[in-house]
């Protein structure tokens, strides 16, 4: 399309009609204005969207101490970490052996028990008690609860079964029970988060 730049001789007088007939300059102004307004709207939306992220008091709850001294082999407890259940389990030698007997490659989310625990503390399995399917709390941590077909945890809601290392073995959940960041502060205490 011809533009004013090419059809008008240099220095020719510009009337109001010429400006309207000059699509390129007008388009430039319009695109620029719309883009500017769009960026402005985006920038204004940012604080609104950001306000919906976890607030400081929620983030401040991100660290929890757990005392392990009372947990006997074969027992587990439910603690609370970031408003979610935390399973701490003292595995028996038989449960450790059961977890080790499974070739990791055959699993949906391949991990060994060693990768999921601290060196020398293989008997302490610390996981979030949140089913990786849709976030229910699996059974198996409480006294007498159904540990499922693999002896670990079982989520009855949609039928996900975890083994003694908290690894997903059957059902719709895609991942092993998450292991949060934690440290042993002594032989009988951990700090999570």
């Amino acid at each position: 399309m011809a533009t004013a730049d090419t059809t008008l001789p240099a220095g020719a007088p510009h009337s109001a009609d010429d400006v309207v007939a000059d699509p390129r300059r007008r388009d430039y102004m319009q695109i620029g204005a719309v883009a500017f307004a769009g960026i402005g709207a985006g920038v204004i939306a940012l604080p609104l969207i950001n306000s919906m992220n976890p607030s400081a008091d929620v983030l401040a709850l991100s660290s929890t101490q757990v005392d392990l001294s009372a947990i006997q082999p074969g027992q587990s407890i439910k603690a609370e970490f970031r408003k979610q259940p935390l399973f701490v389990r003292n595995l028996t030698p038989a449960e450790i052996a059961a977890a080790g007997a499974v070739p990791a490659d055959s699993l949906r989310d391949p991990q060994t028990l060693e990768e999921r625990t601290k060196a020398g503390k293989t008997n302490w399995l610390v996981t979030l008690g949140v089913c990786t399917h849709l976030g229910c709390v699996p059974l198996g941590a409480g006294e007498g609860e159904n540990k499922g077909p693999f002896g670990g945890y079982f989520c009855p809601c949609h039928g996900s079964a975890y083994d003694t290392a908290g690894r997903i073995r059957s059902g719709p959940a895609p991942l092993n029970l998450a292991v949060p960041e934690y440290e042993f502060t002594s032989d009988t205490a951990i700090t999570v988060g």
């Binding site: 919906m52 992220n53 439910k78 970031r82 408003k83 259940p85 976030g135 809601c157 719709p172």
Partner: protein, 434 residues
């Protein structure tokens, strides 16, 4: 708007004349539900349910506004504030039961309204936009109902929020971040409850806006009717008022009887007892179920138990959303020129089978995930998608429809109300002239 023979609004009183020339609101109402809107003369009672859905929304908004005056959207006090409404607020029990059961009534009439649209081909040209807006309204209703269910902060509320927001964690890579952003924390908590309350109050007004567009789009071609044959002239229509205001009024009476029976005699029939236990983030109920109106979709979600290419979790979520989003494409999946299933002998049966399939999904959605139920759910889910993506396009291309009546009036005067073919209808008239 609508047909040329629609009556014009003529304000008699000087006040109304003054108003009409400045803000023609009475004219607008007259043209929407008054004598200004000519409607096919043969509508049956399935055409009541649009009005009933509107009434149900108004009930929800009115009871909801008053309930909000007594409710506390704080995680520490939400549960007790609902008990406060039940025990201490004057008539609070009535308001709460009316609101909770009103949601069920809203979904019942909307589901019948949707089935009406499916059966009589109301989604077909020229009414596609009405259908699309209807699906938008349905999605908004689902979001609103879900967030409202979370507010009492009982066990089912809390775990419903956990599971439904868990859908978003199925999105690859960014899913977990999106979920944390939606919840405002790592699990449903005070921030979640407060924002759900805010949105639960907002969305009904968005729904009301979408309904105005829905009705606006309806008034361009005018109402469909049980024959699916277009209106040919004034003899095929009657004014909305008084004919359908009276008919809708009768239907409304029946609706209110059922509604009152629920509220006064069995207010917890459709609820779940676990929601009378305060939310406990450390213990999941033995069996998480959504409200009845979400059960078929929940069954589709639960039916994916094996990974293939994508994870089972992502498949479940995609299929569940897909089962609703599929409805957007319905006007183009069905290529049959005949609207009403009364004249589509093959499609009619498949539609009845689909309805049975959805009921089966509803059963599976509410049942425990035993091996038998999982397989039932998988079969029913497969059939659901098969119906829309394979059966519907093939049937609409292959089927030989029954001859249509020449006009609505002819169908009515034959005394068949448009349900049976007429001998005088000729093959050439099978396709409605448009």
């Amino acid at each position: 708007m609508s047909f040329p023979w629609a009556k014009q609004y003529e304000p008699k009183h000087p006040t109304m004349q003054w108003l009409d020339s400045r803000l023609p609101l009475p004219r607008f109402v007259y043209n929407a539900v008054g004598a200004g809107y000519p409607v096919p003369r043969n509508l049956n009672y399935f055409w009541n349910f649009g009005v009933l859905a509107g009434v149900a929304l108004v009930c929800q908004i009115v009871t909801g506004i008053v309930l909000a005056m007594h409710f506390s959207s704080d995680a520490a006090t939400a549960f007790t504030s609902v008990e406060h409404i039940m025990r201490d607020v004057n008539g609070g029990w009535f308001l709460r039961y009316a609101h909770a059961n009103g949601a069920s009534m809203f979904f019942i009439v909307v589901y019948i309204h949707i089935c009406r649209g499916l059966y009589y081909g109301s989604y077909k040209a020229p009414r596609e936009m009405i259908w699309l807006l209807g699906v938008v309204i349905f999605l908004l209703m689902m979001a609103t109902a879900f967030m409202g269910y979370v507010l009492p902060w009982g066990q089912m509320s809390f775990w419903g929020a956990q599971v439904i927001t868990g859908f978003f964690s199925a999105i690859p890579v960014v899913g977990d971040s999106i979920r944390i952003w939606l919840l405002g924390g790592y699990a449903p908590d005070a921030a979640t409850l407060n924002r759900f309350f805010s949105l639960h109050y907002l969305l009904p007004f968005v729904i009301a806006g979408a309904i105005i567009l829905h009705i606006w789009a309806l008034h361009i071609p005018g109402s469909n009717n049980p024959t699916g044959v277009d209106v040919k002239g004034p003899q095929d229509t009657v004014p909305f008022h008084p004919y359908y205001t009276a008919k809708d009024g009768f239907g409304l009476g029946i609706f209110l009887l059922v509604f009152a029976a629920l509220i006064f005699f069995s207010p917890n029939l459709l609820g779940h007892p676990d929601n009378y236990i305060q939310a406990n983030p450390l213990s999941t109920p033995a069996h998480i179920v959504p409200e009845w109106y979400f059960l078929p979709f929940y069954a589709i979600l639960k039916s994916f138990t094996f990974d293939f290419i994508l994870t089972a979790k992502l498949w479940g979520v995609l299929a569940m959303f897909g089962s609703i989003l599929l409805l957007f494409f319905l006007p183009w999946l069905d290529s049959s020129p005949v609207r009403s299933s009364n004249y589509r002998p093959v499609y009619r049966w498949f539609l009845i089978v689909l309805l049975a399939d959805v009921f089966l999904l509803g059963y599976v959605g509410g049942a425990e995930a035993t091996a038998r139920n999982v397989i039932l759910g998988q079969i029913a889910t497969t059939y659901y998608f098969l119906h829309f993506l394979v059966i519907l396009p093939i049937v609409s291309a292959m089927e030989r429809p029954r001859p249509l009546p020449n006009s609505i009036t002819e169908a009515v005067l034959k005394g068949k109300g448009g349900t049976a073919p007429t001998k005088s209808a000729v093959e050439g008239n099978m396709v409605p002239a448009e």
